[in-house]
Amino acid sequence: MFLGRLFVNRESFRTYYRLVMEECVGIGIGSIFLVALVSTFIGAVTTLQTAYNLVSPFVPNWVISQVVREMVVLELAPTIMALIYAGKIGSSMASGIGTMRITEQIDALEVMGINSISYLVLPKIIASMLMYPLLVIVAGVCSLVGGYLVGTLTGIITPHDYEYGLRASFNEFTVTFALIKAAVFAFLVSSISSYKGYYTQGGSLEVGISSTQAVTSSVIAILVAEYTLVQILLTND
């Protein structure tokens, strides 16, 4: 019902365009530093840990970066970042809308004849689905760069081996899969967080509770969705 009201009694395209752009800036620019920082360190640590575990002289060094690539593209960039995204953007959406609810700003929109769900939530969902896949791409690149820097500077792997490993047996579908996951996770985080915020009742304490519930529910939804997507899209038979 909540999502159904997104498309009823909408405002003009111009209004949504402006709102989506504002949300894109908030989500994209506001998150890029955290995403880049976390993913660079994740890439670096993954490289070190993979090297630590590959002790056999029969395994070539370029396998390290191949493992890092698979982990980053399939799991770390889209999924771990989604958990961080839920914590940062999801809680911000829930608390922002929740505060508007308890201070009667949503009622003010309704009295003006504006569909508040469509006006407040639709731009957030669209912006989220546009920006989160881009953040996942940034996260993937930063992770691989982080791994490269640590791997080469500590002498674990040569630059040539690292690049070779990144390209070896590369399946392009993993990138497509990561972007599909990113779009689904972005939808889940933005819609669940908006829902929790929109139906906040009470005062500032309840806004905090809604924000926490938004993150918890989003994280559970992400994990369930990931399992489902892997089952559907990555099962060979």
């Binding site: 201070t103 009667e104 700003q105 009622d107 003010a108 309704e110 009295v111 003006m112 004849g113």
Partner: protein
């Protein structure tokens, strides 16, 4: 004119409004009064469509709000302006953007026309040179005035004010009351004010509906309120020492 017929509203087992009927006339402030928790604000929410009544009808100049489709509801709502208890200004927007908001979303006016209209409305409520201030930078009374400016910017036919004087000093309260009265008369609009402030009642109460425990017990004007003969209303009106002394 707004007419309500047999409005009832419950929350779970608790009956908040029982069978309330009445008319609210054009060109003057219509007051809904009563002690806290008697259902005044719920009645107002039922009238503006923020809370659907369990039973009853609300007519806006003959148009049945709840029987209408979404289009009619939107059409009627776009003729409304509302001042909320806390102002309900958008935190992330400046005063100017707040007042301009209904014009931005609901009209196709040009930017300079919108700005002129905003400045006119801000001047009308006695505010100038505050356009670029954020709601957090202005006082409670100014927030109420910005709320009124936003409510009237789109030339509404119906103005609703929920506790316009709450949290304000007596002088500012009188200013807000006079402003609401002037706007109602000048624009010839139907105004409903929910209040429990006796100063407002005696100042602008040209038509008053008294609600007690969810029921309408009395209807009249500021001139007849002190001779109502309704015990519950007398208890409400003369709870104030000054009013009590006046009676004596």
């Amino acid at each position: 004119m707004i007419k309500v017929q047999n409005i009832s509203r419950s929350f779970g087992d608790k009956v908040v409004l029982r069978d309330i009927s009445g008319t609210f006339e054009k060109g003057k402030p219509n007051l809904i009064i009563g002690a806290s928790g008697t259902g005044k604000s719920v009645l107002l929410k039922c009238i503006v469509g923020l809370s659907r009544p369990d039973d009853g009808q609300v007519f806006y100049d003959g148009r049945d709000f709840y029987a209408g489709d979404n289009e009619l509801k939107t059409e009627i709502r776009r003729e409304m302006g509302m001042l909320f208890q806390g102002g309900a200004l958008f935190d992330s927007k400046t005063v100017e953007q707040n007042v301009m908001f209904p014009l931005d979303v609901l009209t196709k006016m040009k930017a300079d026309e919108k700005l002129d209209r905003v400045n006119f409305c801000l001047k009308r409520v006695g505010l100038e040179n505050v356009n670029k201030k954020m709601p957090s930078e202005i006082s409670g009374g100014m927030k109420k005035r910005v709320g009124i400016a936003r409510a009237i910017v789109n030339n509404p036919n119906y103005l609703f004010c929920d506790e316009p004087n709450s949290g304000l000093d007596p002088q500012t309260s009188i200013l807000i009351d006079e402003l609401i009265q002037d706007i109602s008369e000048d624009l010839d609009i139907t105004t409903i004010v929910v209040t429990h402030d006796m100063n407002s009642v005696m100042g602008i109460g040209e038509k008053i509906m008294f609600i007690f425990k969810g029921q309408k017990l009395w209807e009249g004007t500021k001139n007849t309120i002190i001779h109502s003969g309704v015990q519950e209303l007398d208890d409400f009106v003369f709870a104030n020492k000054v009013m009590n002394n006046l009676r004596k």
